[in-house]
């Protein structure tokens, strides 16, 4: 589904990603772990097409298309969804209006009929339950005045409604208490279970989210490179030994 090859990315002329290789096949859950400043969020943002990230070499192919040539909204139409680390507040637009516009833009792209108000309402009612989202939040302006937990739940709610092919969760666990964490993880698992071909990339600093969203692969990112890949047990090993363990590994390999 997603193939990242030898990706180099600069932010403000500083090299942040230094030759990323990543293969995500349909149905897989990948965790990207790493210490602060290792480039995890950069990778998530580059995949979503955020401005300010300069790809200096390498390629990203998504479902046979060159992702780097597509605008952010086109990537969304193709089925890429980014759950933001810091969801943005948009005063004046209700959550419902925003999401209805988004759903219909994506449906238009797929050649489907736009949903009318009733159909949309039915859809969101069902999805709201999945993430335990308070119904009053749907008519409030997007993320405005939401608590940290509500914002993250709102991201997963949008994921459920928009139903992309690939979900990228950028530090979705940060700032969540254990109850909210479980709800968020549950939402992601439902998304995954409803269609086994969906893929998920979980970007996280801590292992604890991975207790609830169990990855097929764990990739450890250090200083802009994936220095170690393995199964879900790698996350536990990291939790135990800390990132210094792999950092040392990298230093060794660089010296050799």
């Amino acid at each position: 589904m997603l193939s990242v090859k030898n990706l180099y990315v600069n932010v403000e002329d500083k090299e942040i990603l230094r030759g990323i290789n990543l293969e995500v096949r349909a149905g897989e859950i990948h965790a990207i772990m790493g210490p602060n400043g290792s480039g995890k969020s950069t990778l998530a943002n580059v995949l979503a097409g955020r401005d300010g990230y300069e790809v200096t070499s390498g390629e990203v192919i998504f479902e046979g298309k060159n992702l780097l040539e597509l605008k952010p909204e086109e990537r969304a139409h193709e089925g890429i969804f980014l759950a933001f680390q810091y969801p943005v507040e948009i005063p004046g637009i209700s959550n419902a209006t925003f999401l209805k516009t988004a759903v219909n833009e994506i449906r238009k792209h797929k050649g489907l009929e736009e949903l009318d108000a009733m159909e949309f309402l039915l859809l969101i009612k069902e999805k709201m339950k999945q993430v335990n989202l308070d119904e009053s939040l749907i008519s409030r302006p997007v993320n405005q005045g939401f608590s940290g937990g509500e914002k993250k739940k709102n991201e997963i709610f949008q994921l459920a409604v928009l139903d992309p092919k690939l979900a990228i969760l950028d530090e979705t666990d940060s700032g969540l208490d254990i109850d909210a964490l479980k709800i968020v993880a549950n939402g992601v698992n439902i998304f995954k279970q409803q269609n086994p071909d969906k893929a998920v990339i979980v970007v996280t600093h801590y292992q604890r989210l991975l207790d609830y969203i169990v990855p097929d692969f764990v990739n450890v990112l250090v200083k802009g490179k994936i220095v170690k890949s393995g199964g879900k047990e790698l996350a536990l090993e990291l939790e135990e030994k800390g990132y210094d363990w792999v950092k040392d590994d990298e230093t060794v390999s660089e010296k050799v």
């Binding site: 979503a48 909204e73 969304a76 139409h77 948009i90 004046g92 637009i93 209700s94 925003f98 988004a102």
Partner: protein, 481 residues
Amino acid sequence: MSTEIKTIENLANSEYKYGFVTDIETDDAPKGLNEDIIKLISKKKNEPGWMTEWRLKAYKYWLTMKEPTWQNVSYPPIDYQDIRYYSAPKSQAKYKSLEEVEPEILKTYAKLGIPLEEQKLLAGVAVDAVFDSVSVATTYKEKLSELGIIFCSMSEAVNNHPDLVKKYLGSVVPYTDNFFATLNSAVFTDGSFIYIPKDVRCPMELSTYFRINAADTGQFERTLIIAEEGAYVSYLEGCTAPIRDTNQLHAAVVELVALDNAQIKYSTVQNWYPGDAEGKGGIYNFVTKRGACRGKNSKISWTQVETGSAITWKYPGCILQGDNSIGEFYSVALTNNYQQADTGTKMIHLGKNTRSTIVSKGISAGRSNNTYRGLVRIGSKAEGARNFSQCDSLLLGDKCGAHTFPYLEVDNPTATVEHEATTSKIGEDQIFYLNQRGIKTEDAVNLIVNGYCKEVFNELPMEFAVEAQRLLSVSLEGSVG
């Protein structure tokens, strides 16, 4: 600079869609202003002597006045002798039907998207179209006259309803009021006159499209609306103008009078030429609009969507004389490129339990400057008066400015005055967030802007609200991508 910011600037740099010049012969007065010109205007319009006298009184008073400088706008000095004060289409015959109107004029309206034809009639809107200074078409007049409603041009009213004009003209905005209103009193050319008799509810939205056409012709509209006891009227005013290199002065005066239990709703969509991307050209829009709630329980609502003009200087206000009377002001003012707007309202509470609501939404893009200036005055006899003001500013990009100057003068301790203000910015984060959910940048900006203006659009009559939304999109539209 990031692409989002650039995109926002592109949006702000979109070209004015309605710029073109209609080629018809005009019957112009020479440039300049003196007593002879005023007499000429009066004569051209076959006015009675009292009207000419009133104009001359205003002119003499104007000579003693100085142009105001307190507003937060700047422009080169205006040479009042370099302006043509009268211009009318050559063929001045009154038309009974649209077929008689010059095709060139009809084409102009068509280009502007003004459906003066059958659709409009079917939609129930009577149109008194002011083409430059002379009314060229008036519709639905007969149906209105059955109800005793007078809806005609000001020139006709001066001749046909002199008692009403004498009684009310200048009664809300006296000819001594301010520099531009006084100038208007001396040289006004035309405008609308509406009279709704006692207990009559006007069955349709009345509307006028103004259009400035001849080069260097100052447009001095004069509008007077009177709602007798228990009467109701909703009036729509909308306008566009063609591209010009030289600035055009527009100094209109609108007076509204509401007697006991009467209600007047006045809605404006203003889209005059704002000048080009470098700030060259564009209309100077110096307008005095004021409504008097003379009677008890009367109500006057101003709703405006201001997207045009190089400079807007305008404070539609309400004088709340009658006990329990209500004044409302809902405004969206959008500026981009080098546009400057200094706009707001005046709510003067004189009667007991008078109430006023102010909702102002300013949107600044490009290098424009948008100022809200509002006065709320509670007089010493206004027991229990209440005001609520909300002034919001939205910034697009980082080179524009938003300013808020609320003036509160409260002379009665029982009054309640509330003021809320916010400033927000469309950031690249917001745009990216919407992009990531599949919404393209242009739609994202429109979504944000329309959401922000919703409270005001809700106050507009339905068809006008749609037009206003379209207008905002057009004003922000550009070469995205």
